[in-house]
C-alpha cells in the first residue's frame, strides 16, 4: 500500500507503559531446535470433554497424522507433530500452575520427519468459503495468540463478518514471537490474511501493530499490495493487544463483555494463526508447530524458535543454557498475564507463546501488601474504566453482589492495576478469587433451584395423592350412607362425612394457594 497517511486511532483509556525487554530474543532469526526425545501432545478438547482417539499405543504415525478429534464440529483435531511411534496415552502435566494433568499422547520421534499432507490448494482464490472452513478445521488450527480458541469456530457458516482484525500488537514485555514471525514470513502471513478474508467474506483487514516494532512494520509494508488490507500503527501501550481493546483502538467501537466480537462482525486473528492457515490451505499441512519466544535472565541465550507442539519445555531451556541456580520463576506467557509453570516436564502447547525463565533480580518477588491508600493509580491504569480499588474493597469483604454491581465481570484480568499499585496489593488475585466464588455460588444456586423444584414437585404430588384418597374415602362413605340408610349411628357417620368433606375443601383451598404462590415465586406452573 502506498498510502502514507495513517487512519485515526482511538488510544486506550488507561493502560500502562512497559519496558519491552524484547531485543534480546530478536537478535537472530527463528531457530529450529533438534528433535526432542519424546513429544507430549495434549488431546483434551476445548470444552474439556475427552477427545475421540484415532490411534493407540504402539501405532506408527506420520507427521501431520490425526491423533484425536472432538465429538462434533466444535472439536479440535490433534495431529502428530513428527513421525514416530505412540509410546503411551496417559495423563501428563501441562504448563500450568496447579500441576493438573490431562490426557496426552506420548510420541517417540523416529527422526525421519515423514509428512502426511492434505491435498495442497495453491490457488485458494477459487475456493468456496465452505472448503476453507473445512480445511481449517481439518488442520486443527487454533488461535496462537494465547487462548487457543478453535479457529474454524469463529468462521462458522452464517457468521456475518465485515472486518478481519490481525492482532500483531504483542503488548506484553519479553514476548517477541509474532514480531520475529512477521519479520521472517510477512508475505506468508499476508497470504493467510487473504485466505481468511475469503473464508469470512470480510471486506477489509486492519492489521494492528504497536509502534515499537519498526522492523516488522517495514517488512509488512513492503509486502502489502492488497487494497483490502490496511496496516495501522498504534501507540505501544499495554494492554493494546486485548481483543476488545484493539478493536476499539482501531475503530472506536466498544464491545461489551457479554458480546463476542464475532457477533459484531469482527474476526480477530493473530499473525501466527494466519501463517498456520496459509500453510494448511496452500501446503496442506496440519498445525504441528508454533513459534515460541524463549527468554529470561536465567538463560545464557534468548531467541525465538519454531517448536514442534509437544516439545518438553525442559529441552528448550537446556538449549538456551538454563542456569537453574538463578531461575526464580518459570512463566508461560508474559509477566503481566502469564501462568507460572510448576513442572519443567510440561510440553509446549498452542498457547505457549513465550517461555520466560526469570531470575529474582529480573522479576523481583512481590513486596508485602500494604493498606490501600486510595491513590487512584489503579483507576488511571484500568483499560476497562473500572475502579479496581472499589472492587478490591468489596472483594476483600466478600461482598460479591456489590463487586458484581461494580462490574467485576468486565475485568479482563490484564494486571495493569496491580502493576501500578504502590501498596502492592495483588488486586487481580482478589478479582479472580471473587469471580471463582461467584461462579461456584451460581452453580450452587442452580443446583439448589433444581432440587427445590424437584422437592416441591414431589411434595405437591404427595398432596394430590392424599387429596384423591380422601376424596375417594368421602365418596365411599357417602355411598355407604345411601345404601345403609337404616344404620343406627347415622348421625355419627354423617358427622364424619361432613368433617371429611370440610377437610377436602380446606385442602383444596390450601392447594390452590400454594400453587399460586409457587407460580409467583418460580414462574413455573405448579403441580
Amino acid at each position: 500500500m502506498t498510502v502514507t497517511e495513517q487512519r485515526r486511532v482511538w488510544p486506550l483509556p488507561g493502560g500502562i507503559y512497559l519496558e519491552p525487554h524484547k531485543a534480546q530474543s530478536l537478535d537472530s532469526a527463528i531457530g529450529k531446535p533438534p528433535l526432542p526425545q519424546q513429544l507430549v501432545l495434549c488431546v483434551t478438547q476445548p470444552d474439556s470433554a475427552n477427545a475421540i482417539l484415532d490411534v493407540q499405543a504402539g501405532d506408527y504415525v506420520l507427521k501431520g497424522q490425526l491423533l484425536a478429534h472432538g465429538m462434533d464440529d466444535t472439536g479440535i483435531n490433534i495431529h502428530a507433530s513428527t513421525s514416530g511411534t505412540v509410546l503411551a496415552i496417559r495423563p501428563h502435566v501441562l504448563p500450568n500452575t496447579s500441576g493438573f494433568e490431562e490426557l496426552c499422547v506420548i510420541l517417540q520421534p523416529d527422526g525421519e520427519e515423514r509428512w502426511t499432507r492434505m491435498p495442497p490448494i495453491p490457488d485458494f482464490t477459487q475456493c468456496s468459503r465452505e472448503i476453507i472452513y473445512a480445511r481449517i478445521q481439518q488442520a486443527g488450527i487454533r488461535g496462537l495468540g494465547g487462548a487457543a480458541f478453535p479457529s474454524h469456530a469463529k468462521l462458522a457458516p452464517g457468521s456475518r463478518i465485515h472486518t478481519l482484525v490481525l492482532n500483531a500488537c504483542e503488548c506484553e514485555p519479553f514476548i517477541s514471537c509474532d514480531e520475529a514471525l512477521l519479520k521472517q514470513y510477512a508475505a506468508d502471513v499476508v497470504t493467510g490474511v487473504q485466505i481468511l478474508l475469503q473464508a469470512s467474506h470480510a471486506v477489509r483487514c486492519l492489521i494492528g501493530i504497536e509502534d515499537n516494532k519498526p522492523a516488522a512494520i517495514n517488512t509488512l509494508r513492503a509486502v502489502l499490495t492488497d487494497p483490502r488490507i490496511e496496516l495501522v500503527v498504534i501507540p505501544a501501550q499495554y494492554p493494546s493487544g486485548a481483543e476488545r481493546q484493539l478493536i476499539y483502538t482501531l475503530t472506536g467501537i466498544t464491545i461489551a463483555t457479554e458480546t463476542l466480537p464475532v457477533e459484531k462482525g469482527f474476526l480477530c486473528h493473530n499473525p501466527a494463526t494466519a501463517l498456520a492457515v496459509m500453510r494448511a490451505v496452500v501446503f496442506g499441512e496440519a498445525m504441528v508447530s508454533r513459534v515460541t519466544t524463549v527468554t529470561g535472565a536465567a538463560l545464557a541465550t534468548s531467541g525465538n524458535f519454531e517448536v514442534l507442539l509437544g516439545t518438553p519445555i525442559n529441552e528448550l531451556l537446556l538449549l538456551c543454557g538454563i542456569d537453574t541456580t538463578q531461575l526464580s520463576r518459570l512463566i508461560s506467557g508474559g509477566p503481566l498475564m502469564g501462568t507460572q509453570i510448576a513442572n519443567l516436564e510440561a510440553p509446549v502447547m498452542a498457547t505457549t507463546n513465550c517461555v520466560l525463565a526469570t531470575t529474582a533480580a529480573e522479576l523481583p518477588a512481590a513486596l508485602p501488601e500494604q493498606a490501600c491508600i486510595r491513590c487512584g493509580f489503579c483507576v488511571a491504569a484500568c483499560p476497562v474504566l473500572l475502579q479496581p480499588q472499589v472492587l478490591y474493597w468489596h472483594t476483600r469483604q466478600q461482598a460479591l453482589a456489590a463487586a458484581t454491581a461494580h462490574h467485576l465481570h468486565d475485568c479482563i484480568e490484564c494486571g495493569a492495576c496491580a502493576y501500578v499499585c504502590p501498596s502492592h496489593i495483588p488486586l487481580v488475585q482478589y478479582f479472580r478469587a471473587a469471580k471463582a466464588a461467584i461462579h461456584i455460588e451460581q452453580a450452587h444456586v442452580a443446583v439448589a433451584n433444581t432440587s427445590r423444584e424437584r422437592f416441591e414437585f414431589h411434595q405437591a404430588r404427595g398432596h394430590e395423592e392424599k387429596l384423591r384418597q380422601e376424596q375417594r374415602r368421602a365418596e365411599r362413605a357417602a355411598l355407604s350412607q345411601q345404601t345403609h340408610e337404616q344404620v343406627p349411628d347415622a348421625n355419627g357417620a354423617q358427622a364424619t362425612i361432613a368433617a371429611a368433606l370440610a377437610r377436602v375443601k380446606a385442602k383444596k383451598i390450601e392447594q390452590s394457594v400454594t400453587a399460586n404462590t409457587n407460580k409467583q415465586n418460580n414462574g413455573d406452573t405448579g403441580p
Partner: protein, 343 residues
Amino acid sequence: MSSGMLNSSPHGHQRVVVSQLMQQVLLACVPGLTALVFFFGWGTLINLLWLIPLALLLEAAALRMRRRPVRIHLQDYSAVITATLLALALPPTLPWWLSLLGIAVAIIVAKHLSGGLGNNPFNPAMTGYAVLLVAFPDYMTRWLLPAEINHNLPSLIDSLQFFAGREPDAGIDAFTGATLLDSFRQQQGAQLFSEFWDTSLLAGQWSGEGWEWVNAGFLMGGLFLLYKRIISWHIPVSVLATLALLALIFHDGGSSQSQGSPLLHLFAGGTMLGAFFIATDPVTAATAKRGQLVYGTLIGTIIFALRTWSSYPDGVAFAVLCGNFAAPLIDAFTKPRPFGHTS
C-alpha cells in the same frame, strides 16, 4: 526453582512504593513551609518538629492496640503526612499542649478509631484542626502580621516561649487577633486591603504580603505533585476555579461591601494548601474523575461561603470536612461507565 512460590499473574510490578510517593508529597510542602517561616517566624517549624515524632508515636501505639504490624504500617508515611499538614495549618504561636491535642484527635480518633488508613471517612489533619478551632477559637485565630508589616517578628526564643505556653500578646506589638481574611472581614474595605490586595498583584507589589508568598509556595508544591502525577488536576482546579468564580460574581470592584477579589481569595489563607494538599487526600476524596470535579466544586463553594458569611476566618478545614462527608454520595452518583457499557 524455589518451590512454594507459585504466584498468579501479574508477575511484574512497578517498583513504586507508597513511601516514595509520600516523600514526594513532603518535598512538595517545602516551598510553602519556607514562606511560612520567613513571614511568620519559627512557630510552624517548631510545630512540625514537635508533631512528626508525636504522630509516629501515636500511630505505633494505635497500631499495637489494634494488633496490626507496626513497622510496615509506619513505613507508609501516612502519619508523617498528617502531622505535616496539621503543622502547616496551625497558627505558629500555639502552645505545645494544644497541638498535642490536635494530633491526638487526628491520629487516634479520626484515623484509627475510624478504621485506619484507607477507611477513615474524614481527613485526619483537618479533623484535628477543626476540633481545636471549635474548642479553642481564641488560640486558633491568633495569627501574626506578616514580616513586611510586622517589624517585630518573633525571634526563635519568642517562638519557643509561645510553644512553651507564654501568652503571645506580652512582648510582640504587632500581634493581630485574626488571620488575613478575618481582619479583612472586620475592616471591610479598610485601608489595609485597598493597599495590599486590590492593587498589589498587578502593580507588582507581590512581596508586600506574606500570605501571597505562602500560597505561591503551596501552589508551586502542588504543581510539582501534578507534574509527578501524584495528584490529578481535577480536585485542585475545580476548587480554585469555583472559588475564583464565586469571588468574581460577588466582587464589586472593592467597595466597602466587597467580599474580596478573586486574587485575594486564591492567594489568601489556606487556599492553595487546601486545594492541592488537603482536598486531594485520596482516602477521603471522591474517587471517579467526574466525582472529583463535583467534590472540588463543592469544597470551593463552601470555602467561599464560610469566608464570606460565617464567623470563622478561614473555611478550608470545614469545607474539606463537608466534602469528605459528601464523598461517598458523590461516588455513588458518579460511578464511571465501564468500557463497552452503553447505559
